[in-house]
């Protein structure tokens, strides 16, 4: 096949979601020649997310218009290495993004900072409960970077997003109304917290009466007119109830479109090519230096793009797959435990309770943003005494209302009819009078949970699919059972007529059908040496110094918190290191 060879650029960025856009904007100021390659379509607030067409649940929420098309590329899934993995033909459990903005377009906007202990999970568990409490198959490890090092970059990203929230710990001082477990922050949230709905208020009252500390969820959902550090004006959230699975039509939910792209357009040294699917990262004969990337356009024509610096900023799963396809880094071998690429794949363990109240309580679920609600952090890892509980990790518990859409957001009691006039009657009876308590839990990494290339199935370009080997482990099932108890305790105080549980039970297996979260993590994890990680603390490949890998693929394990905060703060941290250290002296920033 003929390959079109392009003139070299200084920096090529693979994937143009949150991390690609942040890196492009941070490096644009250097004047270097930057090219971003995005496999999906060009998308912008206007016309792609224009009101009212975007508020079409069937098109976007059910038919998944903004997401990766599994007919072209998907993953294969199995529970254990003894099983035969099959291709995932309709995404359900997680929804990888596609197109400009990536998953940053259709997220809900929960924007967390980790606590100090989250980044030192292995040390914390060892110190508090002893190394023997860590199961033999659990490959828990610390981040190689501290909260203090990342703090300025969390602040910067919060400002980029016009983040709404209530500080709980301002420079070490506890602030009433915020999360008392929060790590110290130098600055309050840029904009005031989102309004609380009745569900959040009711939850807060009950949690408080039990001695817990409720606080409004930090939201990348702007609540006041805000101009961010890039000079971009954000909109103000109007609680339309169409965040997750949708693009934001009024520029208030932070996305690359609403926070970065208007400012990036001012730089003539930056360009973006959409519908450009990168097939592999090319290296020189030594295998230690990247020379650029090979990509294929919408017509199927191959292109070679030489570059001095390669930024791998695709979605977590694609980062792992591209490294494997490029032969960069040693692939993980579950039998021997050797190798690193594909190691420490993790997910998120969620549970929920539906609370049916009856006519006296009106929750008006339709007036919501993706992040309206109240949480408690009292049972997150490190915040309570876990001696003798038999699990590592923890969860947030909260009452979030993200909308009252007609197809997916009308929970009914299990005994209700599924269709017909009985179903309609039941909807009428419960729609306004039902709320949900959710728990979002951490997932630890295990030797037997990993990603590699599938030996059988290929994508539309003839390249092997990524294979996911993953199932729930006893530690997480125990954890979620504990959280169910706590959530039910709060629900009892709230006084619901009827409570139905959606928590997993011991012996349950990973079910790829119902949506759980798009928080897939690991596979190219960061660490303090090349034996336990793919990238160093600056997200620089140990093997190829002019390659940086950004995103949730660098998480050593998954936290209870949603990942975007760490994803974007570490991207800004890496950009800073590239600008201030790497460009001055291209080479490894950490000696192996």
């Amino acid at each position: 096949m003929n390959t079109i060879k392009h003139r070299p650029v200084d920096v090529v960025i693979v994937g143009f979601g949150w991390t690609g856009a942040l890196m492009a904007r941070e490096l644009a100021e250097t004047g270097l020649n930057i090219l971003a390659l995005e496999r999906g379509e060009q998308r912008d607030t206007w016309p792609d997310f224009a009101y009212p067409r975007i508020t079409d649940e069937l098109t976007y929420g059910i038919r998944l218009k903004l997401f990766q098309n599994p007919a072209r590329e998907t993953v294969t899934v199995r529970h254990t290495s003894a099983d035969h993995a099959l291709p995932y033909r309709r995404f359900g459990s997680f929804l990888p993004g596609n197109g400009v903005g990536g998953a940053g377009v259709h997220w809900n906007g929960m924007l967390w900072r980790p606590r100090e202990t989250d980044l030192k999970m292995h040390s914390t568990v060892t110190e508090r409960y002893g190394a023997s409490t860590i199961p033999a198959d659990m490959t828990l490890q610390d981040y190689p970077v501290s909260y203090q090092e990342l703090e300025p970059f969390f602040e910067k990203f919060e400002k980029i997003c016009g983040t709404a929230g209530q500080a709980g710990n301002l420079r070490g001082e506890t602030v009433a109304g915020g999360n008392p477990f929060e790590a110290p922050r130098r600055a309050p949230y840029p904009t005031k917290p989102l309004k609380q709905q009745y569900a959040g208020q009711l939850f807060a009252r009950a949690a408080e009466s039990l001695g817990y500390s409720p606080f409004p969820i930090p939201a990348a959902n702007c609540t006041e007119a805000w101009k961010n550090p890039y000079g971009v004006q954000l909109g103000v959230c109007n609680y339309c109830g169409f965040c997750e699975r949708f693009g934001c039509f009024n520029g208030s939910k932070a996305s690359p479109q609403s926070t970065i792209l208007p400012s990036l357009r001012q730089f003539s040294n930056f360009s973006l090519r959409t519908q450009a699917q990168v097939l592999r990262i090319n290296t020189d004969a030594s295998g230690k230096k990247a020379t650029g990337v090979t990509w294929v356009d919408e017509q199927g024509v191959q292109h070679e793009q030489p570059a001095d610096l390669v930024i791998l900023s695709a979605f977590q799963l694609h980062n792992v797959r591209l490294l494997l396809l490029s032969g960069i880094g040693k692939p993980y071998n579950a039998q021997s435990g050797e190798g690193v690429v594909g190691r420490n794949y993790a997910y998120q363990m969620n549970g929920s309770l539906n609370l049916f109240f009856g006519e006296k309580h009106n929750f008006n679920p339709f007036a919501a943003s993706g992040v309206t609600g109240t949480f408690i952090d009292d049972f997150n890892a490190g915040n309570f005494d876990q001696s003798g509980l038999g699990f590592i990790g923890g969860a947030t518990i909260g009452a979030a209302t993200s909308g009252g859409r007609p197809i997916q957001q009308m929970p009914l009691p299990a005994a209700s009819p599924q269709w017909g006039s009985g179903w309609k009657k039941s909807i009428k009876q419960h729609y306004l009078h039902t709320m949900t308590i959710g728990s979002s839990g951490s997932v630890m990494p295990y030797k037997q949970c990993y990603l590699d290339l599938d030996p059988t199935y290929k994508d539309v370009h003839g390249q092997p699919l990524l294979r996911m080997t993953f199932d729930w482990q006893p530690n997480e099932l125990k954890m979620t059972q504990f959280m169910q108890g706590k959530a039910e305790q709060i629900a009892r105080v709230m006084g619901a007529q009827q409570v139905e549980s959606g928590f997993m039970k011991p012996g349950d297996h990973y079910d790829v059908r119902p949506y759980q979260s798009t928080h897939t993590t690991g596979g190219t994890v960061m660490g303090d040496n090349p034996k336990n990680s793919v990238v160093n603390k600056y997200l620089q490949s140990w093997d190829v110094h002019n390659l940086f890998v950004l995103g949730a693929s660098v998480f050593p394990q998954n936290l209870a918190y949603n990942p975007t905060g760490i994803v974007c703060a570490t991207a800004l941290w890496a950009a800073h290191a590239i600008r201030t250290q790497y460009f001055a002296q291209p080479g490894p920033l950490v000696q192996a």
Binding site: L32, P47, N238, D308, F583, A584, P586
Partner: protein, 408 residues
Amino acid sequence: MNIRQYGLCVLLAVASNSIAAVPERSISPGHYLALAADCAACHTAEKGTPFAGGLKMDTPIGAIYSTNITPDAQTGIGQYSYQDFARALREGKARNGHYLYPAMPYTAFSKFDDQQLHDLYTYFTQEVPAVRQENRKSDIPWPLNIRWPLWVWNMMFHDDERYLNDPLKSAEWNRGAWLVMAPGHCGSCHTPRGIAMQEKGLDHNDSAYLSGGTINGWHAPDLRGNNVRGLGSWTQQDIINFLKTGQNDRTMAFGSMADVVQQSTQHLTPADLSAIAVFLKSLPPGKFSSSPASEDYAEAQYPGAALYQDNCAACHRSDGRGYTHTFPALASNPALLGDDPSSLVSMILHGGRAAVTERALTGMRMPGFGWRLTDEQVAELSNYVRNSWGNQASEVTAEQVKKLRKGE
């Protein structure tokens, strides 16, 4: 610059602990005048080369196309002497002697003095790159395309005189008046036009001057001192911010004004913007003849209320106040309250976009709603907006909407 060179800069900056100084951009006086006069707006086709002409402009008798004013000898103004150039700008006559259509605002540019025209001439002949692009003939049919009768038009409506300084007014006021009347040619859009397409007033001595005009389905609002329909309630700083960034705390530029701010007014000096504000704020209110509704519609039972809630309130809010610098307020917004509702109706039908300027680079968009609202609904909605939250304006009819939808 490549990575190695940039790396060297980083090392040097770290060593000297300083950030490299960025030189101030300075431009020639002629370049500045060309920006102030927004020559590029008309003399550049959509996605065309700057000043090479070819932009289509509709007139009641057929479309005309702007001309190439780059210094190309064959197709541009390369053979123009200074005298030729000055005659074109002041008298509306091309080098070959034919009359220019008064879409070229020579009635405004005659207020340039010799020094200013020399500066402009130098810019267009020495700084602008020559582009070979043939001028396009107008679509005006014979015999209307015969140009000599324009001589009569000029006799009636054009006096070729320089700006006359008013010694009773401050220097700042005089500078502002000259900027608005001469390079700014604000009256081209903002002054109503008479039967022969002439502007009904060329300076502040005429009460029709800048009292609002309509072009291609958009109404350029009254810039005089009326509190409701004009700039009476605006401060000087409101005007300065609007022209510098395309927005202020109250509102945003839309329609072709967004282009004017982007290409022209954002580049003016703070002193000149301030002078413009001083002059505009000195204009007394004009005359009105409308009969606004007697009640305030901002109640649920009025026609249009439900349409407003469904289509508009998500951003502009149910109290019509919007959000500052994000979604313009509809309450007390002079651009929506003129006797001529074209702008409001066109905005509902087609949507709009904010100016992208150095200090406001977001460029927010409003989607069009013409595809889902009938003429009757647009009229109801317009009446609701024009008569709610203290707004008072005349009745909009479905017939008016129908015409604007058709582009009449």
